[in-house]
């Protein structure tokens, strides 16, 4: 009977960084000592990173969780679940009953953490490939309409309506050279890791979403452009693509449709700017990752000059559930023009950090109180950066803002890719502002002057302000520089870098030696 017990230890990079591989090895060895051959599944993460490595055990009554677990606690855990011993301190009860999981609406991440990421059997048993099967029986226009109707917007940060983009590519004529689906998996924003967790925990959902996109717009080739900083995701995707191809979900006749769609995985080389879609396309073409001026839109002239859908990982992985359960189902989550769900990533100085998927609309403060549980340091939280290194810093007075594209935009902030980085009161906001400019200087592609030169001048000016060198004049100068960068840069890198800078000055003037900037 005990042979039927299943163990789960995430193979997710965050769990591995916290010792999951060593834990799995030790578990296997202790099971062998007991003469047991129970299966140890390396699942994705449930998203509760503060509990990693999280060990789950299914002894026939649902999955029970222990975490965070180190090897020393294993003996006690095995006594609890195999020998009716007392529950150890790391025992958390039934996984599904944990408040952090119960409070979520998991659509895109419904399978992540539950299944073996590379088991097609698991994927199929959890409603996998239903969306693709439906799509094979639909006209391309009908697929695109479903996505339009769902209200899905680009989850990479720009929030452009996905269906409209697909329509443009469907309507574009491609000639012999065809059309492309490109997945932007260059998740470079600090504080974001939703793409990584999905690719490592449920890679088939991304593959399925891309295949549906291919059927929808008439593209036969897809590329996943993955950042080099994610070697675990690369391994998982590579194997998942091979398995999907063997099973007929990719290749000459996708899921029996008679239509061709195949995927290639490309690895970036450490350039933040390649997360910008036109720069990413140049990189895929084997060039320096330089920004292209728009128009032409990539939907008209994208990869190799052909009509191209460029979508983020989460956007594409959200498509299967929309096709499987209907646009109406997806649309009923969320509010206003922000429909469906958003994976939020709680990071930085938080007591409980990780990934959670929520319908749009929850306030930032609620998010912090319900999920983060305060700071890791125990000191008061002072600032929050939402949307990555190009996102604004928000003070506590703005934390009642709902998570919603428009609501944040009204406050000069952006939701971006859903990353929330919390800082406690030891943060020096002038130092953060200087870093924002410095990061832009390091990562600028160099094509346009406001970004290339502006960021360097921004660093210098901020250093003068911090040294109290003609502070008032330099603050004025910095303000003008920020305006120039915002209005005259070719892409979001130079155009948005001023947001963390000006928001820091506006909301935390005391860190810049200014009495009250709002007066």
């Amino acid at each position: 009977m005990v042979e039927a017990i299943r163990f789960y230890i995430p193979g997710d990079a965050a769990a591995v960084a916290l010792g999951a591989d060593e834990l799995a090895a030790e578990l296997n060895s202790q099971l062998a000592q007991r003469g047991l051959h129970s299966e140890v599944v390396r699942n994705g993460t449930r998203g509760m990173i503060w509990l990693e490595p999280l060990l789950e055990v299914d002894w026939g009554q649902g999955r029970h969780a222990y975490g965070p677990v180190d090897s020393a606690a294993l003996a006690e855990i095995l006594e609890h679940c195999l020998d009716n011993g007392p529950p150890p301190t790391v025992y958390l009860g039934e996984t599904e009953a944990l408040p952090w999981l119960r409070a979520q609406q998991r659509l895109t991440f419904a399978r992540t953490g539950l299944i073996d990421p590379l088991s097609l059997k698991d994927y199929l048993a959890h409603e996998g490939f239903i969306g693709l099967q439906k799509a094979t029986a639909m006209e391309p226009q009908a697929i695109v309409e479903s996505v339009v109707e769902s209200g899905l917007r680009g989850r990479g940060g720009a929030a452009f309506p996905t269906g409209i983009k697909w329509q443009t590519v469907l309507d574009a004529s491609a000639g012999q050279a065809g059309k492309y689906i490109v997945c932007n998996a260059d998740e470079g924003d600090s504080g974001t890791f939703a793409d990584r967790i999905l690719m490592e925990g449920d890679p088939f959902s991304l593959i399925e979403g891309m295949a549906i996109a291919g059927l929808a717009v008439g593209a036969d080739t897809g590329y996943i452009y993955l950042r080099s900083e994610y070697p675990h995701a690369a391994q998982t995707l590579k194997r998942a693509i091979g398995l999907a191809r063997e099973a007929g979900y990719l290749g000459d006749s996708v899921a029996g449709s008679g239509k061709t769609f195949d995927l290639k995985l490309r690895i970036g080389a450490g350039a933040y700017i390649c997360g910008e879609e036109t720069s990413l396309l140049d990189s895929l073409e084997g060039k320096r990752g330089m920004i292209r001026a728009k128009p032409p839109l990539p939907a008209i002239e994208g990869l190799f000059g052909q009509p191209t859908v460029v979508n983020n990982v989460i956007t594409l992985a959200s498509v299967p559930v929309i096709l499987a359960k209907g646009a109406e189902y997806y649309k009923n989550f969320g509010t206003g023009r922000s429909r469906g769900t958003i994976p939020v990533q709680l990071a930085g100085n938080v007591l409980r950090g990780g990934l959670l998927e929520l319908a749009f609309g929850m306030s930032i403060r609620e998010l912090l109180d319900t999920f983060a549980g305060g700071t890791a340091s125990g000191r008061p939280a002072r600032a929050m950066q939402i949307g990555g290194p190009l996102g604004a810093y928000l003070p506590p007075t703005q934390w009642d803002t709902p998570l919603d594209y428009e609501a944040l935009a009204e406050r000069g902030a952006m939701l971006g890719h859903g990353g929330v980085v919390v800082f406690d009161d030891s943060v020096d906001m002038a130092e953060q502002a200087e870093f924002a400019m410095q990061f832009c200087a390091v990562e600028s592609c160099g094509k346009c002057t406001p970004c290339r030169i502006g960021s360097v001048r921004g660093v210098e000016t901020l250093q003068k302000i911090r040294r109290d060198e003609n502070r008032a004049e330099n603050l004025l100068l910095l303000n003008e520089l920020c305006e120039t960068m915002r209005d005259a840069s070719l892409c979001a890198m130079g155009g948005l870098t001023p947001f963390p800078v000006t928001s820091a000055i506006q909301h935390f003037p005391e860190d810049f030696g200014v009495e009250d900037n709002n007066a």
Partner: protein, 160 residues
């Protein structure tokens, strides 16, 4: 240094990407994966095989932080320098690493350990994070980093 056997290795590594549309990036990765870096004297070989100009190939190599033109150090420590790690004491950890290793971030040196910046490893909920010889480590502090660095070469880190 530039001998024909190295050039043969380079040609062999990139063979699979010559017909691949936009295949220069995977070709460069293939060379670096085999040799550990992309020797400058092999750039003409790569350019010829990929039917591109030497300037184009050099331009691509120099654009991307990951492509190296010098042989790598025996060990590489990449520490995340981005915001989520900063919020958890990342700056202190960076300074500590520089002082322990006696090298600065991203500077060429003859040290056995190279210290490199990385802007986000996607481990932002268990910061600060680093990648040491390809292995990820999270929730770092000075003590743990010191132990890890000591493990790289037993006789102290600074031989530069």
């Amino acid at each position: 240094m530039s001998d024909s056997s190295v050039s043969d290795t380079v040609r062999e590594a990139i063979l699979a990407f010559q017909a691949e549309p936009g295949g220069l990036m995977p070709a460069l990765w293939a060379v670096q994966n085999v040799l550990g870096y992309i020797p400058e004297e092999e750039v003409p070989t790569i350019a010829k095989a990929m039917n591109q100009s030497v300037a184009e190939v050099h331009g691509v190599i120099s654009f991307y932080h990951d492509f190296k033109s010098r042989p790598p150090a025996a060990h590489t420590v990449k520490i995340c320098r981005a915001e989520a790690c900063q919020a958890m004491g990342g700056r202190r950890l960076q300074a500590f690493a520089e002082q322990q290793l006696g090298v600065e971030f991203d500077q060429a040196s003859s040290s056995a350990v190279a210290l490199e910046s990385v802007y986000c490893l996607g481990l932002c909920a268990c910061a600060p994070a680093a990648m040491v010889d390809g292995k990820l480590v999270a929730k770092l502090d000075e003590d743990r980093l010191a132990t890890i660095l000591a493990g790289l070469h037993g006789k102290g880190a600074n031989n530069g």
